[in-house]
């Protein structure tokens, strides 16, 4: 068992393609179906996601658009995490957003792909993309502002008609 742990660790790689992106590849000594279930079955998620802390799964709707909300009880306090599933393609690909209550508005898009290595092992490729304030600001100054102005113009017209 110790050997397999070492082997798995040795095949783990972490890269940061940009300072807004974290890319982790890791090989787990388990078949793909089990790894998929470990990510999508609340009873299994509760046993590892909390890093050893108590984890309360308040919501977990594993379907496109479904919500998830986990609350971790760590020695330093209670931390809530939540998001929405964007893509659920068993047993290959899972995409969801991730937000921590402590940093509201800082959305991370997590994409996990599961690759069957054919020898009872599974490669998990996890990519985390951060949408930060700078990017949101960029978004605001581009198309969104225009869209917002159009909405306000429409609201103005509506209010005029109400007069």
């Amino acid at each position: 068992m110790t050997n397999s742990l070492k082997e798995s660790t040795a095949t783990s790689t972490v890269t940061t393609p940009s300072d807004r992106e974290i890319h982790i590849e890791r090989i787990f000594n388990a078949p793909r179906d089990r790894v998929w279930r470990a990510f999508t079955d609340p009873k299994l998620v509760a046993q590892w996601w909390g890093r050893g802390n108590k984890l309360v799964i308040e919501r977990m709707e594993v379907e496109r658009g479904g919500h998830w909300r986990f609350v971790e009880h760590s020695p330093d306090g209670v931390h809530g995490f939540e998001g929405r599933y964007r893509e659920v393609t068993p047993p290959e690909r899972l995409v969801h957003t991730f937000e921590w209550d402590g940093m509201p508005g800082y959305v991370i898009v997590e994409t996990a792909t599961f690759e069957d290595l054919g020898d009872g092992r599974t490669k998990v490729v996890n990519n985390s993309l951060f949408y930060t304030s700078e990017e949101r600001d960029g978004f605001l100054s581009s198309g969104m502002e225009q869209g917002l102005n159009q909405s306000y113009a429409a609201l103005d017209r509506l209010l005029m008609e109400l007069d």
Binding site: R34, W48, G52, P75, N126, S128
Partner: protein
């Protein structure tokens, strides 16, 4: 036994950073210190807070390694700590540590339940 050790393993440093970052005032302090050092008195004034209240916030940030303080004469000044992370990059670094801790736990879990249906 080794698995049991893994089970109780978590990163206290990650949790301290979480605790430090979870407060908007403390994130504001980090952003302010990112622009330059400041005395505790300056910070208290800027954030409209008592000196005692500000000292507590700075202490939490100092414990997490995000801020260091130094007393020169009668003035205690604060600067970004050895980890030199401002709020956003501190969050990204904390997230990365947490993600790694989660995947370690997943590895332990899959080993522990090997052969289960």
């Amino acid at each position: 036994m080794s698995i049991l050790n893994h089970m109780v393993q978590y990163s206290p440093k990650v949790d301290m950073t979480f605790a430090a970052l979870s407060d908007p005032t403390r994130r504001g302090i980090l952003t302010r210190l990112g622009r330059g050092d400041a005395s505790i008195t300056d910070l208290a004034g800027r954030f409209d807070m008592t000196l005692t209240g500000m000292k507590k916030h700075v202490q939490v940030l100092e414990n997490a390694g995000l801020v260091t303080t130094e007393k020169v004469g009668r003035v205690r000044s604060a600067r970004l700590g050895p980890r030199r992370l401002e709020d956003e990059s501190a969050w990204i670094a904390t997230y990365q540590q947490m993600l790694n801790a989660r995947l370690n736990r997943l590895e332990d879990f899959l080993e522990r339940t090997k052969g289960a249906p």
